[in-house]
């Protein structure tokens, strides 16, 4: 990696390039691809090009008009990626929006994750809201639904657990009068071990399936075990 560093304080414009460290404190526009060891943004960054970094930490807001590649990415705030994201570890506190596909080893955190394409990871553990346009494919999926409804077209994996998230006391007190709970809407959910709460799905297929409270499922196909909460509605179930 290059020896040069890029540091922006205040407001500035850069053409991008290859750097060791890139630090933005304030507001920057980067017109070009950027490649570096460590990219830190405190404030706002508008990047019109690809980003490749070993670590990418964002405190504030960033737009990336291009693909993103990072071994570690931390979002504390909001990121908007228009392109494919290939990440090692994604830590989310806030909101991440990807217009394209998202590939990662591990995704965890709180907030909202929106992916227009498919999201593939070894493990996904999120509390909050998830919107995935195509497939959420992960070895382990653990979603705690809260704040608002989530939607995923198709979920596939080994272990899938969808639960109702515990909201904080203060939020809970504010929303205690509303009868609404956050739900997940999906077309198909397929996995080996499946546990669902507050999920509306057309088809659920798996080896061991447990349908918990608040679910509305069209068809369940299971192989070894099936259990259903009394507060769940399952139209049809078959053992295969």
């Amino acid at each position: 990696m290059a020896e040069r560093n890029l540091t922006i304080h205040g407001s500035a414009l850069s053409g991008g390039g290859v750097f060791h460290y890139v630090t933005i404190r304030g507001d920057a526009m980067i017109r070009g691809d950027i490649e570096c060891d460590r990219l830190k943004v405190f404030g706002a960054a508008d990047m019109k090009g690809a980003v490749a970094a070993r670590t990418f930490r964002l405190f504030g807001q960033a737009n990336v008009d291009g693909p993103v590649q990072a071994e570690k990415m931390g979002v504390f705030g909001e990121v908007d990626i228009r392109g494919h994201a290939r990440l090692g570890h994604l830590q989310l506190r806030g909101m991440a929006q990807v217009e394209g596909g998202l590939e990662a080893d591990a995704i965890r955190g709180y907030g909202e994750l929106s992916v227009s394409g498919s999201c593939e990871a070894e493990s996904v553990a999120l509390t909050g809201v998830v919107h995935i346009g195509q497939t959420l494919n992960a070895e382990q999926v653990e979603l705690s639904l809260c704040f608002a409804d989530s939607s995923v077209k198709e979920i596939g994996g080994r272990t899938i657990r969808i639960k109702q998230g515990k909201t904080w006391k203060a939020v809970h007190w504010l929303t205690r009068l509303s009868p609404l709970t956050a739900v997940l809407v999906a077309d198909t959910i397929e996995g080996d071990d499946i546990y669902l709460e507050h999920t509306k799905a057309a088809v659920v297929r798996g080896d061991r399936v447990t349908i918990g409270p608040g679910c509305e499922i069209g068809l369940v196909e299971y192989r070894m075990a099936f259990a259903q909460d009394e507060q769940a509605a399952v139209k049809e179930k078959r053992q295969r």
């Binding site: 593939e120 494919n137 992960a138 070895e139 596939g156 994996g157 080994r158 272990t159 077309d187 198909t188 397929e190 996995g191 080996d192 057309a202 088809v203 297929r205 798996g206 080896d207 069209g218 068809l219 196909e221 295969r240």
Partner: protein, 209 residues
């Protein structure tokens, strides 16, 4: 003809693998995205696969998964051109190029068994030209030599192979990128091939075997 399809459910029953395994293999790119064919049925959307291909692939994965890690396996199925080395035997078995051009290889290297992707690519392209009937065997051999000595220099870059003939004399060369060609009168443009297209074709031919 449409290839015969198999539904996901039937596939799992037939092969004894679980949803988790199937999704893991897809994630690791052991099963190409294009094989997941989504169709509407009366129960909603269902996923189908080309039967013959997917069964052969799963058989192969099961066979190799104890010896290789999933990432290594992915390398086997998604050929990275630089890393692919085929043996002469495999090339013959998969009918990638004709015996005629393979014979050149033997003449040149005298019984070497391993063929790299770039070497195979040059044979493949010349073989296609020969089959089209546009060039003679002798011309093919010259094009093959030219390709072999110049192509490595622009490794990775997109290029075109151009073959010209005038008064029975043939000249071939590689052009980086795509450029407009303006050729003198009386010369005939025999072939102009976009090399990346053939790379894709060859990759497919290799991975389907």
């Amino acid at each position: 003809m449409e290839p015969e399809l198999i539904s996901k459910k039937e596939l799992l029953e037939l092969t004894g693998i679980s949803y988790g395994q199937l999704y893991r293999w897809k994630r690791k790119k052991l099963i190409p995205e294009e094989w997941f064919i989504r169709k509407s049925t009366f129960t909603g959307q269902e996923t189908f696969f080309p039967k013959e291909k997917i069964l052969a692939r799963i058989e192969k994965i099961k066979e190799l998964k104890d010896e290789l890690s999933l990432d290594e396996l992915a390398g086997v199925f998604a050929p990275n051109p630089a890393a692919v080395v085929l043996t002469r035997e495999e090339i013959v078995k998969r009918h990638i190029v004709s015996d005629l051009v393979l014979q050149w290889l033997d003449d040149e290297w005298g019984g070497r068994q391993d063929v790299s992707f770039a070497e195979l690519l040059s044979l493949y392209i010349v073989d296609r030209l020969l089959r089209s009937g546009e060039i003679s065997i002798e011309e093919g051999k010259n094009i093959w030599r030219m390709f072999g000595s110049h192509y490595p220099k622009l490794q990775g870059k997109s290029c075109e192979l151009v073959v010209l003939r005038k008064m029975g004399v043939t000249v071939s060369f590689l052009v980086e990128g795509t450029a407009a060609l303006h050729v003198e009168e009386g010369a005939k443009l025999i072939a102009r091939l976009h090399v990346p297209t053939y790379i894709e074709e060859l990759k497919l031919a290799i991975s389907e075997g």
